[in-house]
């Protein structure tokens, strides 16, 4: 056991002096996630909050045919803007993106309205353009409510209650808690954490084979009276330590970043206090052994540090796969799913953020399943380390 400790201590000291490792383990991994997240949240905040507050400018052709409607739109925070000369010009303007939408009111509008014939209004818009889609949806909503108001007035005039137009009263009761809503968005967090953990151990995992070989320090190392198993174990454990470090830093940096994000405005109250940070750390920790051994395994097949980096970068994406599939299928946590590494961590973390009670059986299966997979891969690495061809 002593050689494992010796190798472990040397790797830790060595890598704490390595700027490349420090940069990726202590800076890149932990900060990449939070910064990207803050950016995305801010963008969606701006979009969803801006929508209701900002007045919408809508060019209308033939405004003079519907003065009441114009008045109505203005009272609904929609400004009537200067419009293109005619319908053809409007089509062109929307097509090339000059306007998001143009409303055309035909000359016959007032006449038709007065005669109780359905009065035609044309809305020209490009629905493939998401920005335009949102704006035209807002304009449509205003037009529809104007439509309903007139209908109600006509019914009143004929002595009929407008209530008969509402045979159903649909009442949607939203049971999602504010933390639950945030879980939707915060669900992608688990990948950031796994990513950060993997980045933290990447250089060490590569160094165990490709790095040592390239530096020429592998052969003298193998001449020592130490079994190769002990060498590789020491190296994998050192990688685990850096992964754990990177993981804890990324959890803490998220905790800090979330404090500065106005998530309440999105109807979310993230449950990401220090206790959740600590629990999340413990739930994700078993993943480090699996990640470290997987990266070591992949790197051991490569010829150089550069080549190893390329392949190991692909490993960085591997944990997304189960998470992505699970998000598409919208799976609920179950005991069987807890056997799948990365997915089980993701589901447990999401539950934690949603402030749901922790299912101890799930935790047990996730922890032991992931550790088992990591243990098996570590043994595979050891077996590969015993090959004669290791020296290349």
């Amino acid at each position: 056991m002593r050689p494992i400790r010796t190798v472990f201590q040397k790797e830790v000291r060595d890598n704490f002096r390595d700027r490349r490792t420090l940069l990726s383990a202590l800076l890149m991994g932990p900060l990449f996630g939070p910064i990207l997240f803050a950016f995305v949240i801010n963008m969606s905040l701006k979009q969803s909050l801006g929508e209701a507050d900002e007045p919408l400018d809508v060019p209308v052709i033939g405004q003079e045919h519907a003065p009441n409607l114009m008045q109505y739109l203005k009272s609904h925070n929609i400004n009537i803007a200067e419009a293109p000369a005619d319908r053809a010009a409007a089509l062109e303007a929307v097509k090339n993106g000059e306007h998001d939408l143009v409303i055309v009111i035909p000359e016959a509008f007032g006449e038709e309205l007065a005669g109780a014939i359905p009065a035609t209004i044309v809305v020209i818009s490009d629905l493939a353009n998401t920005q335009a889609e949102r704006e035209s949806r807002r304009a449509m909503r205003a037009l529809r409510s104007y439509n309903q108001e007139i209908a109600a007035m006509r019914l009143f005039a004929r002595g009929v209650s407008p209530v008969i137009l509402r045979p159903l009263n649909i009442d949607v009761v939203d049971v999602s808690t504010p933390s639950g809503r945030s879980a939707l968005l915060l669900g992608m967090l688990s990948y950031f954490f796994l990513f950060a953990a993997l980045t933290g151990g990447m250089n060490l995992a590569i160094d165990a084979t490709a790095g040592e070989r390239e530096r020429g320090s592998l052969e003298p190392l193998l001449c020592l009276p130490v079994t190769r198993d002990h060498l590789i174990f020491g190296k994998i454990f050192a990688a685990c330590l850096f992964m754990a470090l990177s993981l804890s830093l990324s959890l803490i940096s998220f905790h800090v970043v979330l404090k500065f994000l106005p998530l309440e405005k999105l109807g979310m109250t993230p449950n990401f206090g220090l206790l959740v940070v600590a629990k999340g750390f413990l739930l994700l920790l078993p993943f480090t052994l699996l990640g470290a051994s997987l990266m070591t395994l992949v790197a051991s097949f490569t010829k150089s540090f550069k080549e190893a980096q390329t392949w190991v970068s692909i490993v960085l994406l591997a944990p997304t796969l189960p998470i992505l599939i699970a998000s598409i299928l919208m799976v609920r946590p179950s005991t069987e799913l807890m056997f799948i590494p990365s997915l089980s961590q993701h589901l447990l973390l999401v539950g934690l953020i949603k402030n749901e009670p922790i299912n101890m059986l799930h935790v047990l299966v996730s922890v032991s399943g992931t550790l088992l997979a990591g243990g098996i891969l570590t043994l595979v690495c050891a077996r590969l380390y015993r090959r004669e061809g290791l020296l290349g």
């Binding site: 050689p3 010796t6 190798v7 040397k10 592998l218 052969e219 003298p220 001449c223 009276p225 004669e388």
Partner: protein, 243 residues
């Protein structure tokens, strides 16, 4: 003492080592001499146990390199062809890391590292990180690292490669000191003069076989050439032509 008997090592179709036998005695410097690709490095790699022979055997102080490889490794100090250091560690830390892996108790390791730093003249750069060391400095540190557990047998694979004159001289001095201390030294080289200068015994290898095993004078006598280089060429061509 290092003893090699009928060693064979193949890489696919290539017979890298094809029946090599020789002994390297304590208190003597034995040189493996041969052109590139003759099988010198492969032989040494089998001896320091990173390769397994296909047939034949080799022992270090009577310890089999295949069956008891851990024990055999404990008895050798090795300076392989590629003897890279850890650039973020100082020279002293590089040596101490190996001392720890040899299982030396910390106090003894510390004294021994200090002793080697003085003996091999590493004092000036012992506490600098090895990144940016010259080839000479690096070889010295690697040699110190190989000797840290005071092995009875020392194997060096082309140790003077890439060294300048002064560094080569100091390496030779170190090797002579090891001989004076009664160690068994086995090293490979393709440089004639070096082997002629230093070795008590020369084993000339070509195409995976031993062409001649004798002292420098003995080789001159056997081949009838006064010049060692001519003798070398004659010895290896006799293998090529099969005579």
């Amino acid at each position: 003492m290092i003893s090699v008997k009928g060693l064979h090592k193949y890489f696919g179709e290539v017979k890298a080592v094809d029946g090599i036998s020789f002994d390297a005695q304590d208190g003597r410097i034995t040189g493996l001499l041969g052109p590139n690709g003759a099988g010198k490095s492969t032989t040494l790699r089998v001896l320091y146990t990173v390769l397994k022979p296909d047939s034949g055997s080799a022992t270090i102080d009577g310890v089999d390199v295949v069956g008891q490889d851990l024990d055999a490794r404990r008895r050798i100090g090795t300076l392989p062809h590629a003897a890279g250091l850890y650039p973020h560690l100082t020279a002293r830390e590089n040596i101490a890391y190996y001392a720890a892996l040899y299982g030396m108790p910390p106090e003894r390791a510390e004294t021994r590292v200090e002793q080697l730093i003085t003996e091999l003249d590493l004092v000036d750069f012992a506490d600098r990180r090895t990144k940016g060391f010259s080839q000479g400095q690096r070889t010295k540190v690697a040699l110190a690292r190989a000797l840290v557990h005071e092995p009875q047998n020392v194997i060096l694979d082309e140790p003077s490669n890439g060294l300048d004159v002064m560094a080569t001289r100091s390496l030779r001095d170190s090797i002579r000191q090891l001989k004076a201390a009664g160690k068994c030294i086995l090293f490979s080289s393709h440089v004639m003069q070096e082997v002629g200068h230093l070795c008590d015994e020369i084993v000339i290898i070509a195409e995976g076989k031993v062409a001649i095993h004798d002292s420098a004078d003995g080789i001159r006598r056997q081949t009838g050439c006064d010049d060692l280089e001519d003798a070398f060429v004659k010895a290896i061509t006799s293998i090529d032509t099969g005579s």
